[in-house]
């Protein structure tokens, strides 16, 4: 049987086609509506089928000891192909004379170390998955991304972004997309998409803070400060002051500025600021309590792939109460933070 049998629909596709050409404007409009709706279902089905990840994606194969990263750096030689390029530095090998190779190797290591030392999480999947970093991707490519399997680094165009391997927070951000893929697997649009982005900034900044010995007070809470070109100084985003990182930064600082249909990197400013507020209120290192609360929420089975800001916020409070007590300073800080960014609990 074919995948799509028109006999099993209420209206066969051929009749809809005919109705869409009707002389009667109302009939025509109704048929076009039905076809548009059908198209949206098709897109939703295709998106759902194309998704990878989720909590069942990491299979436990054997008992692991963990604590050891398995990094490989590949040279993409300015190609835009997403298959792995030439191996140029493998785990344990000495530094080489290309700064991008060494930065990528070290950044993957800082990220592994953050997750292992803080949560005893063994790599992005919790099962010791190899960390592949693909450098010199594309021609002056002003971007970096995690494609579900490996991290790709562009060299930057020099104006917008510079060498993307230079940002420890950038590497932590991208690999955290991998962690999210294996945990809540947040859908990459709307509020769940902005949460997906925010979680990458939240853990990306902690990877940088831990690597450089910065606490909640000494950190600048800027994202992308080490990879912005002259046009975007001093940084791409500010977790402390969303919208103020550079003259073009369009992030809102609370729900009053929420942008309906906005980019996932725009509305992520709201939950980013909530994390900053919790961390700075509690003081010390971001990963003492704020980080673990967010991590427990990301792993919480009640966090749906389509979670809203409010659903996420409520789960951070539940996890803060469970770990640190109903009346603890941690739960108070979480409540106050979401109140400040105007996400009602």
């Amino acid at each position: 049987m074919r995948d799509h049998d028109p006999m099993r629909c209420i209206l066969p596709a051929s009749l809809l086609d005919k109705l869409a050409r009707s002389d009667d404007a109302a009939v025509r409009a109704a048929a076009l509506d039905a076809m548009a709706l059908d198209n949206r279902f098709r897109i939703a089905r295709a998106e759902s089928a194309a998704r990878i990840g989720g909590r069942t994606a990491a299979r436990v194969t054997f008992a692991r000891i963990g604590g050891q990263s398995h990094r490989t750096i590949y040279d993409q030689q300015n190609g835009s192909n997403q298959s792995l390029g030439t191996v140029i530095r493998a785990e344990g090998q000495a530094a080489v004379d290309d700064v991008a190779i060494n930065e990528a190797y070290d950044g993957l290591g800082h990220t592994y170390e953050y997750y292992w030392a803080t949560f005893q999480r063994d790599s992005v999947d919790g099962q010791g998955r190899s960390l592949n970093g693909c450098i010199h991707f594309g021609q002056d490519y002003p971007n970096a991304f995690w494609d579900g399997h490996a991290m790709f680094f562009g060299d930057g165009d020099g104006q917008f972004l510079t060498r993307t391997t230079a940002g420890i927070d950038v590497i932590g951000h991208e690999l955290t997309h991998g962690v999210t893929q294996y945990e809540a697997n947040l859908v990459y649009s709307g509020q769940s998409g902005a949460l997906n982005e925010s979680i990458s900034d939240v853990f990306g900044i902690q990877v940088k803070q831990r690597a450089l010995g910065l606490d909640s007070e000494t950190s600048d809470w800027l994202i992308g400060a080490d990879i912005v070109g002259p046009a975007l100084q001093p940084a791409l985003r500010s977790m402390k002051d969303p919208g103020q990182a550079n003259p073009h930064d369009d992030q809102p600082a609370d729900m009053d500025g929420y942008v309906p249909g906005g980019d996932v990197h725009t509305n992520s400013g709201i939950p980013n600021r909530a994390f900053y507020l919790v961390s700075s209120k509690l003081g010390g290192n971001a990963w003492d309590a704020a980080g673990p609360i967010w991590y427990a929420t990301l792993r919480d089975n009640r966090l749906n792939p389509t979670a809203t800001f409010q659903e996420f916020a409520r789960l951070t409070l539940a996890n803060a109460q469970q770990a640190y007590g109903q009346q603890g300073a941690e739960a108070d800080a979480v409540s106050a933070a979401w109140d400040t960014v105007k996400v009602p609990l």
Partner: protein, 96 residues
């Protein structure tokens, strides 16, 4: 044909970046190919999800035909006859 193109998404997805290309500025045969390819874009169709987190997407609009709405392309789809749009954006794109 005046074509507005915006690059959205990417790690720096909170920073808008765009350009306008008037095909009159291209060699005539290239302009014809670009116009034909742009004409065949999925105008008004719902934008699918990005291919992966922090992927770029491109939003295309026609300055003289706002009624056609917008066409959204995934990263990697600005190739072939649409390649001049990508090069134009890279060379003339403005932040903001």
């Amino acid at each position: 044909m005046r074509i507005r193109i915006r690059r959205v998404g990417g790690f720096a997805g909170n920073i808008p970046f765009g350009a306008e290309l008037d095909t009159a500025e291209l060699p005539a045969d290239q302009a014809r190919r670009v116009e034909a390819a742009v004409d065949g874009l999925p105008w008004g169709a719902a934008a699918g999800a990005p291919l992966h987190p922090d992927a770029f997407r491109y939003e295309v609009e026609l300055a003289d035909h706002p009624d056609r709405g917008r066409a959204v392309l995934q990263e990697g789809q600005l190739t072939g006859d649409l390649d001049p749009l990508r090069t134009w954006l890279e060379e003339h794109g403005q932040i903001g």
